[in-house]
Symmetry: C2
DNA sequence: TAATGCGTTCTCAACGTTTCAAATCACACT
DNA sequence: AGTGTGATTTGAAACGTTGAGAACGCATTA
């Protein structure tokens, strides 16, 4: 038998109204259970709507209400454990508040960030959550953010933030936790604590570096530039790391991310150092790597999911509680990072 | 000086029209450079629009055109390397075609999958790309997918697919590549190749298992149930793995994901086995783990990014080339997985 | 009888855009 | 002056929804 494929095209208020011989607004109100409408009519309309599986058109509602129930998220990279967990937090919280999440990836590029932002700023989303691309931070150009906030569109920055824009922010206590990590290493009787970091235009790297220095200072250990290794963000040359370990006396390392940590730990082991007996390692980001590498890596958990939730909550707050029109007030929330002790430290 | 914060509220065609004393449609046409409009007027309008940074309202355009330029992506989990790479492929390709991506995470839950889908199906997106949640696969209930396709909304399934729904699909050649991997192991003179897998309601696991079996068969090796270890998808008990290695003669292992592989490899090493001399390991998913673990893990790259691109391309194709109204035709694309040889195999 | 009130329904405008069809205008040609 | 032509501009409807206000029928009240 030849089965005609029936396309159940979306049904609208108008269809229902026509079919039932009532006006559109009657249908609209009946479906909202308005008590302007008689019981009879309501039942009739609701039954019909259910039968034909009526669902209101979100776009039309958005146009009418001037709000989309969409949140725009712009992050530098999605294939990255930290961002991914933050995203999960955002998506999760947003869902409970009835918001959808539109994600754009800037790919660490300034231009893409700007394009994505403009694309979404024209009515597609009610607000933004973002973390700055590397290039944006290097350039120090935030005109696109300024433009958005000036239009009254709420913005929440997280992790990679800037002081140049007035908006809500969520960060972790990078400096403090680095301080704590290094202090712990020193307390374990490590004398030569190295730092493996990235170029400092990431302000997070800078803060972590400050924590590192301060811990040395407090412990009365002289800061030694030779104990600092700065690596590019991508394209890492293992030989640089090898050279570093071969020519420097090191008994502990703090790394600003888990890749650096795992890589460095592997190389140190190859060179015959025992972990943690000879060298201890602490990384940032509690991802799969830290957990499954052998020995497992002591790491600083940034609680990305919590960060994402926090950011989403702050954003929705701003979206829904319209401008109290006085001078807008912004705040910066600090998520407390924690150290997860595993096998790469201790003594 | 007290600086009044000026909210540059979005400007519309109506504002421009009123300001310039022309009609709305004139403004609309002038901005589109229509040649119905005089050069004078066009210049005037365009200059004004530029000055006040006019940007058309996407929502209004969506309502008018009945298309949102949004793609809905529903995946089981975002904190997962494979899905993350697929997403990157989607986002990337979609961007080049002027589409935005709305992501929902089903969290392996059937209900969430349904809710997300319904939420987006009411006009928020022009089509869906999705990978089924574990629960959906276990239940074998696809009513929500059916409903969407019956409404004429294009759908592309990837990786975790089902035969019960007619739509475009993108998968990898799971069976073949597993066959190839195991054959390679056998060619390296491995006699006792184990398989570490998940419950088979993931059809991908099933296919991989079939490839495994077939390779044994072709090599004339008897299938031995004792060489199969089935682990739950989460909450893995390391002792189960330890027991497995202690009580079974094994000289090679194929794992259906990289976590299983890394975990198993670590435990095997602890038990005194050398990798790859005594036992070789091959995993699925070319993520950070495989790359950075020591010894680095030979793995099957699923080319998620390519898969995502493919899926996005197929979807946009369907979205833009309206129903040719004959019987709709669907296809299934197969992305070729490849084996990335690293240090955990060889002889 | 006329006024008031209530319950119910309808009309209309609005959100911001596009586009078809119609109107207006300037100008040239009979 | 009348007609035709082409260039330019405008009006109105439409997309699907909401909500304020008008209108209707009917019953109660003054």
């Amino acid at each position: 038998m030849y089965l005609q494929q029936v396309l159940k095209r979306k049904i609208t208020l108008k269809h229902i109204a026509r079919e039932l011989g009532v006006s559109i607004s009657t249908v609209s109100k009946a479906l909202k259970n308005s008590n302007e409408i008689s019981r009879d009519t309501k039942e009739k309309v609701q039954a019909f709507a259910k039968l034909y599986n009526y669902k209101p058109n979100n776009i039309a509602i958005s146009l009418k209400n001037k709000q989309t129930k969409n949140i725009g998220v712009i992050i530098p990279n999605i294939v990255h454990h930290f961002f991914t967990t933050v995203f999960r937090g955002i998506e999760n919280y947003a869902g409970t508040r009835g918001y959808n999440v539109v994600v754009c990836v800037s790919d660490e590029s300034f231009d893409k960030e700007v394009i994505n932002m403009e694309m979404l700023a024209n009515g597609s989303v009610d607000g933004f959550i973002m973390s700055l691309s590397a290039e944006t931070q290097a350039r120090n150009d935030f005109a696109h953010l300024k433009e958005v906030t000036e239009q009254g569109i709420p913005l929440v920055l997280f992790d990679r933030i800037t002081d140049n824009i007035d908006c809500d922010k969520v960060i972790i206590n990078d400096k403090q936790i680095a301080f704590k990590a290094v202090s712990t290493l020193i307390a374990d009787n490590r004398k030569h604590v190295a730092l493996i970091t990235t170029d400092t235009y990431f302000n997070v790297s800078r803060f972590r570096g400050e924590g590192y220095k301060e811990a040395l200072q407090v412990a009365g250990i002289l800061y030694d530039e030779n104990l600092i290794l700065t690596l590019p963000y991508d394209e890492i040359d293992e030989n640089v790391i090898r050279y570093f370990f071969q020519n420097t006396k090191i008994d502990a390392v703090l790394c600003v991310n888990e890749i650096f940590a795992v890589l460095a730990m592997g190389i140190a082991q190859e060179l015959g150092h025992r972990v943690p007996e000879d060298i201890a390692f602490i990384g940032f980001t509690d991802g799969l790597l830290s957990k499954y590498v052998r020995p497992s890596l002591t790491t600083i958990a940034q609680h990305g999911e919590k960060m994402g939730e926090m950011a989403a909550q702050m954003l929705i707050e701003k979206i829904e509680n319209e401008p109290i029109d006085e001078r807008e007030t912004y705040c910066t929330k600090v998520i407390e990072a924690t150290i997860i002790e595993r096998a790469s430290t201790g003594n």
